[in-house]
Amino acid sequence: MSNETPAPAGNGTTNRRGWPLWEVFVRSKRGLSHHHVGSLHAPDAQMALHNARDAYTRRAEGVSIWVVPSTSIIASSPQEKDPFFDPSIDKPYRHPTFYDVPEGAEHL
């Protein structure tokens, strides 16, 4: 019976450095943009698409998937958070909430 047990994970004798990380973006339907849904590990881009399909669209969440190497993402720095984002906090006039919506105007 012992040979019916699945082999242990990985291959202990090779120097497996670990798979690179990929960021996954899914478009839920036509006309919408892709949204970031999470990340996963995969050895190459095609496998990353496969893994993303299995991890993030198995309940019919998507019609299109992008995968991007996480190393390609340029992120804003937490240290720059204040100069980056604070100046917009006290400018409510940038929100389009100061207009009277004409009666009968739909889909706004």
Binding site: E4, P6, N15, H50
Partner: protein
């Protein structure tokens, strides 16, 4: 053949054929499920579980139809759970132990390539139910075959370590 039960020996050709296809999917699914939490990576756990679930869905449809064709009131659960092992009609390929991950992937490649050709033709069957099951399953096994192909290619490339051996 002689140890099969009366119920199995007296199946009509269509019932026996459908049951055999259902058993291929059922046993193949159960073998793949052994990998859950044991695959080389978490992502591959998910991939194999998804493929196993596709096969289980095919098994449900095929066993249900086999029971209807048989006409003795057996449903998918009766056929899946209440038959003895010598009455289960799967091909040996899907029942053999998993071996290591590479063996499992090689087996999946052969099995999914077989299912792909089978369902491609069965889609045009004069039996409307089998044709319908095949049309749905064909999309699933197309993905299984692609996934297994990627892995067999990758494993065939080997590693620095295997090349130095």
């Amino acid at each position: 053949m002689s140890i099969a039960s009366e119920a199995t020996r007296t199946l009509t050709p269509l019932a026996r054929y459908t049951l055999g296809l259902g058993d291929d999917a059922l046993i193949g699914s159960q073998r793949l499920c052994e990998w859950i939490a044991n695959a080389p990576e978490l992502e591959e756990d998910l991939a194999l579980a998804n493929i196993a679930l596709d096969l289980l869905g095919q098994a449900r449809a095929l066993l249900t139809y086999a029971g209807q064709v048989e006409g003795r009131g057996r449903d998918e659960d009766d056929l899946a759970y209440l038959r003895d092992d010598w009455d289960i009609l799967n091909v040996h390929l899907v029942e053999a132990p998993n071996g290591d991950f590479a063996v499992t992937m090689a087996r999946l490649l052969v099995f999914s390539a077989y299912q792909y050709e089978l369902y491609s033709r069965l889609r045009d069957s004069s039996d409307a139910t089998l044709a319908g099951i095949a049309a749905k399953a064909l999309k699933e096994v197309t993905y299984h075959r692609e996934h297994a192909t990627l892995w067999v290619l990758r494993l065939g490339d080997g590693t620095d370590y295997s090349a130095s051996g």
